[in-house]
Amino acid sequence: MSLEQFKNRNVGTQNYKTLDVGTKPEKGMAQFVQVVQRTFKGELFVGLGVTMKAMLKALFANDMATIQYPFEKLPISPRYRAIHEMLILLESGNYRCIGCGLCEKICISNCISMDTRYDEAQRKEVSEYTINFGRCIFCGYCAEVCPELAIVHGPRYENASEQRAGFSLFEDMLTPIDKLNLQQEYDGFGAVSPNADENIKQTPLAY
């Protein structure tokens, strides 16, 4: 690609398209004629018609564009990266998080930290987990790197909080056990691709 187009520093004048508005009449009479023509063409009334139609449709055909935000919310794309959620296993109610620490490692703003321990069942248990949302840039790497689809980005984008600690605790991000049935499988960042089965070779099993 040549640099020609960048060398023209007269920014903003290159790509104007001129509408076909005709030529401006020179003489007073011609101008008057133009005014009369335009006036009686009813262009102004077309404009009035448009707005009236829009109002009638909005009022009576339920074509209102407004979303009354705090009470109504638009659905969020699964690729949207809002406040994290920690999902849990549907069968057992255990955390999906296994405490592998990959999110902690990959986090480029260094805002995730976790404490793990060896629990009574001889498993790795995440005893504490926190994300510093004051620092988080919502890049989505943690959700992408998570091998268990445990940490995902939820739809909760209202981040205003009275304290910095808001939402940052594991318990706050975790799906409440009574809302387990409402837990949605995440298909945003890092989720299994629809054609994942085609891309892997099955390991032979002896049983």
């Binding site: 008057f32 102004l44 404009g47 009035l48 009236m52 829009a54 109002m55 909005a58 009022l59 009354q68």
Partner: protein
Amino acid sequence: METTLAGHVVENLPQVTATGVIIKAVIILAVLSALAGFGTFIERKVLAFMQRRLGPMHVGPYGLLQIAADGIKLFTKEDIIPQNANKLIFMIAPIITAATAFIALSAVPVFPDFTIPEFIPLLGGTFVPSIASDLNVGLLFVLGMMAAGLYGPLLAGMSQSNKWGIIGAARTAIQFLSYEVVTGLSILAPIMLVGSLSFVDFNDYQAGGIGSWLIWQQPVAFILFLIAGFAETNRTPFDLLEHEAEIVSGYATEYSGMRWGMFFIGEYANMITVAIIASVVFLGGYDAEGALGWLFIMLKIAFFFFLMLWVRASWPHIRPDQLMWLCWKVLMPIAMINIVITALVILI
């Protein structure tokens, strides 16, 4: 013999007393101030609907109490006077706007006349007229008062030591003065037909039903008056005085709180005045007897008010030079021709 606005002669009409006029004035002031506020609500709602929005929704049912909220806000807001402003004039200017708008209303019919019932102490039996001051030159008075309203924005803009204000003031002068000519000339033709400057006479002249409305005899005058009315009330597409995309807020740039609110009230009061004049002069005024007549005129006023909002939602505004061009090179000549033709028709 007294003639009422309802278009018939009533015997033994009660005497118009000073108390009645004062009560009427208070009523006009109170109701129209409120109506001006309500006008803002309606304007916001209508504009919203035309843009597929909801408009104010949260204060009161359907946002109805938004007026109260705005009022409280305006009343409680800090009144800022710029350091280098001419303080006295700066403070007086909004009062001029509001005052002239309401004074103009004293000569137009607002609400039917009534007598305060006897059981009310003190004021019982007082007659309250429809027109606070039924001048025989009512129309001239109203136009004059509205023209005097020019001083509000003009002084406000000049006193506030702000370049946007100055530009706004300059535009006020040229726009109001220019369109004063068109208003006067356009309404001259109906006056010639009716032969009176009294609103009552205009009403009586058109008492013969829709067919007798002056709009049919004077369509050009009607349109000219309407266009000039938009300009005089500083409405889109002629809202150059305070056009925010160009001059921030024009003459009102430095104003805040209730002083700014008074400009607002003045503007809406003027809109109502123009709507009343247009209704009475061109659309037959009170078509029917009593309450029905009042309903009709209300509908007419409401239509004009709505038209102003509708136009605002639909049309772009024009440049100052186009405004002047339109005034002096198009509208004024047409108005002149219209008068000449009307005069010829009357002579013949």
